[in-house]
């Protein structure tokens, strides 16, 4: 019977780590990578698509712009009062309101986008995660059959892994 194990390896050097990623990618294996800092080379190696957070920002911004102008415009029309000779509904000063709402809604939508896309908050402990990954180790973890553990450990070591563990 095959028991699944989570193997996780940590690397000190980015170039080693990139090689590992490329290797496992070519093997079409599923794996999770960790890094203490974001890194272009790693991202390139992973070849992930551009994040969709930007769409949230854009949508938020547009909704904000519309709601800012309409809030100001409709409430002013509701009051329908002349102030200092200025007509009740006049767009020029409402630009500020429209602008601020654009920013506010855009920012909140970005926050929402981040939370949804990055699946935050997620307090479940990830298997294969090690504290060093937030310090200086680049980590990779993958699910493997128990039988594969040894060979995988070996291949990690050949790529220069500092430490390989499994559970």
């Amino acid at each position: 019977m095959n028991t699944k194990k989570i193997i996780s390896a940590s690397f000190l050097y980015v170039d080693d780590f990139v090689n590992v990623i490329k290797h496992f990618k070519s093997e079409k294996r599923k794996f999770v990578t960790y890094s203490p800092v974001p890194n272009h080379e790693i991202e390139e190696a992973l070849g992930a698509k551009k994040s969709k957070v930007g769409l949230f920002t854009l949508a938020g911004g547009i909704i904000g712009l519309i709601s800012g102008f309409s809030l100001a415009g409709f409430t002013a029309a509701e009051w329908n009062l002349v102030l200092g000779g200025k007509p009740p509904v006049t767009l020029i000063p409402f630009v500020v309101i429209g602008f601020e709402f654009t920013i506010l809604f855009g920012a909140l939508a970005t926050l929402l986008g981040l939370i949804i896309n990055a699946k935050l908050p997620s307090y479940k402990k990830l298997k294969g995660y090690k504290p060093e990954f937030t310090v200086d180790h680049f980590g990779i973890s993958l699910e493997a059959d128990e039988t594969e553990v040894a060979s995988l450990t070996d291949s990690f070591n050949t790529f220069g892994a500092k430490e390989v563990t499994y559970e």
């Binding site: 050097y13 957070v53 920013i103 920012a107 990055a118 307090y123």
Partner: protein, 442 residues
């Protein structure tokens, strides 16, 4: 910063969160007391009426609004450093932006109290918010004050979110070193961050968009603050240059306060190798630029007041320089546009003493700038029979000190409980660890 490793950075920043000594509690306690004192004075004023303060007819705005503009200005440097310089890819921001950003949040919170303090009827302050109600009572969105309410609350929301987003990976790092109750708190605050590349992918984009949104926001916020004055017809207020001039002034004072606070901070936390003199020098250069802009604005306002031939404008500007508030005026001119010129000398902008002295003087000068603009214009408006001079009473002074207490209390708490230097971003500017020779290209 050369030669540091990820681990060294990680450790030295997390070390700043080591359990504090008694002295620290004494300081925080002192500021908390100061804050409580300020709050009591405010309460006294609410009960008795605004008459206990020095504001009067015709100077209806005084130290409260001066403080408001001052604190909003302070806030601006944080966003400048964290967002604008992020977009400009300036590396010198990395080690200082976190504390600058914390300053932003606390300064906006402090600033936000002042419009409330100065209200005649603070208990109905919520009428300024667009809260749906069955009476269909909505605020007047044409009023610069409502623009201000919207701008400041947007600013507080966005800068606080930006601050928290930036903190997430760092708190994850801190979490791993923490124990006991602290660990639990940091775990919650870290939103379950693990630093997977999937997370980083979204995080990077989100951070970029936040920066892209915060940049125009920061400019708009102080523009809106300036329009609190410029949209009036008060001589000395009604000026088209106010928006850019206030933005520059805000950054001027904000950076000065960042320098003032970071110099002792880096000493206490022994992070001189992370917050280096180079960081300060870069800030000094920006201060030099903003100082020049502010000086340009002073000069052009004076010249055009004469050129316009408007007797009221001209009278105000003459009176500022020679009237009852001339000392304040010259303090402002010298501290804001003359003293910063010292930063032309490399010796001064790279000396800790020089930086500290100049930045403190700028803070004094910028406070007086707002004081001069607000008070002198109101005191000598159109009708000479309605002129009157203003001076603050103990109420205004007490509340002002209280607000410093509030700000410094928060800042000290922050410094001990959250990483005051961005661990992640400092790591980012270190050379990427590579087996085949490092490079910091990223």
């Amino acid at each position: 910063m050369e030669g540091l490793t990820y681990k060294q950075v990680n450790d030295s920043v997390i070390n700043t969160l080591a359990p504090p000594r008694k002295f620290y509690f004494a300081i925080v306690g002192f500021f908390a007391l100061l804050f409580a004192m300020g709050m009591s004075v405010w309460f006294y004023m609410i009960v008795n009426g605004l008459g206990v303060a020095g504001i009067r007819h015709p100077v209806m705005w005084g130290v409260f609004i001066t403080n408001f503009v001052f604190w909003v200005g302070i806030a601006h440097s944080g966003t400048l450093i964290s967002a604008i310089l992020y977009l400009f890819r300036a590396e010198w921001r990395m080690s200082i932006y976190r504390s600058a950003e914390a300053m932003t949040v606390f300064a906006v919170a402090t600033a936000g109290m002042y419009p409330l303090i100065h209200l005649g009827r603070v208990w109905v302050a919520y009428w300024t918010l667009p809260i749906p109600n069955e009476m269909l009572l909505w605020p007047n969105f044409k009023s610069p004050l409502i623009m201000d309410v919207i701008a400041i609350s947007t600013y507080l929301t966005v800068s606080a979110s930006f601050f928290l987003i930036g903190l997430i990976p760092d708190i994850a790092a801190v979490r791993e070193k923490a124990t006991g109750i602290r660990k639990k708190i940091y775990t919650i605050l870290s939103f379950g961050w693990h630093g997977t590349n999937e997370q980083w992918r979204h995080y990077g984009r989100a951070y970029l968009f936040f920066a892209a949104l915060a940049t125009p926001l920061v400019i708009s916020v102080h523009s809106v603050v300036s329009w609190d004055f410029a949209l009036s017809i008060v001589p000395g207020w009604h000026s088209t240059i106010f928006a850019p001039y206030f933005v520059a002034g805000a950054i001027h004072s904000g950076l000065a306060l960042v320098i003032t606070l970071l110099i002792p901070l880096r000493k206490i936390f022994k992070v001189e190798n992370i917050i280096t003199i180079k960081n300060f020098e870069s800030m000094a250069k920006v201060i030099l630029l903003t100082g020049l802009i502010v000086g340009y604005a002073y000069a052009i306002e004076y010249f055009l007041a004469w050129y316009s031939g408007n007797p009221y404008e001209l009278a105000i500007f003459k009176w500022r320089a020679s009237g009852d508030y001339a000392p304040a005026f010259w303090t402002m001119v010298i501290c804001n546009s003359i003293v910063p010129l010292l930063f032309f000398f490399k010796k001064i902008r790279t000396s800790i003493v020089g930086l500290l002295v100049v930045s403190i003087l700028i803070n004094v000068g910028m406070w007086f700038e707002r004081y001069v603009i607000i008070i002198t214009s109101l005191a000598h408006e159109f009708l000479p029979a309605a002129w009157g001079n203003y001076s603050p009473t103990w109420v205004e002074i007490g509340i002002s000190f209280g607000s410093w207490g509030f700000f410094l209390m928060l800042f000290f708490l922050f410094a001990k409980f959250l990483p005051s230097i961005s661990i992640t971003e400092v790591k980012e500017i270190l050379p990427t660890p590579k087996r085949k020779g490092g490079s910091n290209e990223h």
